[in-house]
């Protein structure tokens, strides 16, 4: 499913966090957002599943389009939007439940009660998230018994279980060790066959490795958005060049 932002301006109270952003994201691709802390990339990401709605005093101008629907239209049900646009957070946030129940949760709350379907989907999702082999014998154990990297893959499995079309990932590997990180990256690479993946990252090598396109944000503006190769080898803007070569930020 493709995503689009049209003339997006976003405010936290009086603070102008996103300035006039236009972007088109292709379906079945991996798009990375990079930029210094506070540049608005996570805010922009969270617009697409309306997580910013949870913050008081925010305000959006412009349109965010998922598929062909402006998701800020009054007729849109936020709960249903979030079953189409899944999210993985910066810190692994499994629920204080068993491994199985964590993955089954999204199904249950969306009205799936058939035990067989739930069992099958949990297994399929854990396999997709490359976690099945590690947890298949302890599905009833608490999710907190897993390592940080496993927990994050569990959260990915949890998001995949409700078969979204889009997967938003907000620095999904920033709290993980290098081995877990590379597992997550491999996973992201696999996922783009079935999903549109958008990932926010502080790690530029990561963006270079996993993404097809990269957007560079600074001070609430989208400075440059292009093929990842182009951004990292020959960016159009000097600011981008400075950032990726580590001259600031």
């Amino acid at each position: 499913m493709k995503l689009e932002a049209k003339n997006v301006n976003f405010f936290y109270g009086d603070f102008h966090a996103l300035k006039d952003i236009n972007m088109q994201i292709d379906s079945n691709s991996v798009t990375a957002f990079i930029g210094p802390s506070g540049c608005g990339k996570s805010t922009f990401l969270r617009l697409f599943n309306r997580m910013n709605d949870l913050i008081d005093g925010t305000h959006l101008d412009g349109e965010c389009i998922v598929g062909d629907q402006n998701i800020y239209d009054k007729s849109v049900s936020v709960d249903e939007l979030r079953t189409t646009v899944g999210m993985v957070f910066q810190k692994p946030n499994p629920f204080p439940k068993s491994i199985f129940e964590n993955v089954a949760y999204g199904l249950r709350v969306n009205g799936v009660n058939d035990k067989k379907i739930i069992i099958e989907t949990v297994e399929k999702s854990l396999k997709q998230a490359a976690l099945w082999e590690e947890v298949k014998d302890k599905l009833k154990k608490s999710a907190f018994e897993l390592s940080g990297g496993q927990q994050q893959r569990l959260c990915i499995a949890r998001a995949l279980a409700i078969s979204p079309s889009v997967l938003l990932m907000d620095e999904p590997a920033s709290a993980l060790d290098p081995i877990s990180t590379s597992k997550i990256e491999e996973l992201i690479f696999q996922l783009k066959h079935d999903y549109t993946v958008v990932i926010v990252t502080h790690n530029m090598q990561q963006a270079a490795r996993v993404s097809d396109k990269t957007g560079f944000f600074m001070l609430g503006e989208l400075i440059e958005f292009n093929d990842t190769k182009k951004i990292f080898l020959n960016p159009d803007k000097e600011q981008t060049q400075n950032y990726i070569t580590g001259r600031f930020g």
């Binding site: 599943n49 997580m51 949870l54 008081d56 709960d79 249903e80 939007l81 979030r82 079953t83 899944g86 999210m87 957070f89 810190k91 946030n93 499994p94 629920f95 204080p96 439940k97 949760y105 999204g106 249950r108 709350v109 969306n110 959260c155 949890r158 998001a159 409700i162």
Partner: protein, 285 residues
């Protein structure tokens, strides 16, 4: 010179540390004094008969069974009244209310409610539940009155318990398309459950020891039988203690009974407090 100055400082420090330490030991000492005093005087009457039979011979003999049962009923009744109201308003305050001023007003009012002397609750309960609503002097009226008393504690504990749940749980659930209500029911409340239970148990401890709220609303001086409906009066441990300590037919003869009653009452409260600790520790590993 230097040397003296330093040692002088150290001596000063040591003096105050000792003082603080003594004061905290003193608190423990006082608790043990009270318990020891009561146990020594009352342990003699504690036996199976004391716990399982009704008072006899002008309360100089027999046991306190009806008072134990009455207190048990009152505790259950007051929790049925207070627990749903308290938990639901706690949920509202922490999960739903967006207007911080309203939350603050509710919180201040809740704390004020908690600060009202318990005899005033008794008076209010008498005029509203006993008279106005025609519950009469009854288990029902007593339960409502004690419920009001327990409400602030339950609200506060619920709010604290919910506040301790990380926001990442809420976000995780909402991001999977769960509604807010589902999130609260399936993720937040189960996670907050141990702490909410702790609050419930603490308020049981509080409620079971209260005399004033049931004085005019539920408590009977003496009943030959156990209550059979919610409109019956009940005997209750704290009130029974008051009665046999002050207005028995033969105060000297009932004195050990009073201490025995006190032991049972203290035991209930202590057990409840310990239980609260156990629950909290067991679930929040």
């Amino acid at each position: 010179m230097q040397h003296n100055k330093f040692t002088g400082k150290r001596a000063n420090q040591a003096l105050f540390f000792t003082l603080f330490r003594l004061m905290s030991y003193l608190v423990v000492g006082i608790l043990f004094c009270i318990i020891g005093f009561i146990v020594i005087r009352g342990i003699g009457v504690i036996n199976w008969e004391f716990l399982t039979t009704a008072p006899k011979d002008g309360m100089t003999k027999g046991g306190i069974f009806p008072a134990i049962v009455g207190t048990f009923y009152l505790v259950i009744g007051s929790m049925i009244v207070a627990f749903p109201i308290g938990v639901m308003s706690g949920i509202y305050m922490n999960e739903y209310a967006t207007n911080k001023h309203i939350v603050r007003v509710i919180r201040v009012m809740t704390n004020n409610l908690g600060g009202i002397p318990s005899i005033v609750f008794g008076l209010f309960g008498m005029s509203l539940f006993v008279n106005k609503l025609h519950f009469g002097d009854s288990l029902l009226a007593g339960s409502f009155t004690l419920g009001l008393l327990a409400l602030p504690l339950i609200i506060r504990v619920t709010e604290e318990a919910l506040k301790a749940i990380p926001d990442t749980y809420r976000q995780g659930s909402l991001a999977l398309g769960a509604t807010k209500l589902t999130t609260i029911r399936k993720v937040i409340l189960p996670a907050a459950f141990p702490n909410v239970m702790t609050g419930l148990i603490l308020s049981i401890g509080r409620v079971s020891g209260e005399t004033a709220p049931i004085l005019f609303t539920a408590a009977a001086y003496f009943l030959p039988h156990l209550p059979t409906s919610v409109f019956d009066q009940v005997m209750a441990l704290p009130y029974h203690l008051y009665v046999i300590a002050t207005s028995g037919t033969d105060l000297e003869a009932t004195r050990p009974m009073a201490y025995g009653t006190a032991i049972v009452l203290i035991a209930i409260v202590l057990i409840m407090n310990l239980l609260a600790n156990v629950v909290r520790r067991r679930f929040s590993k």
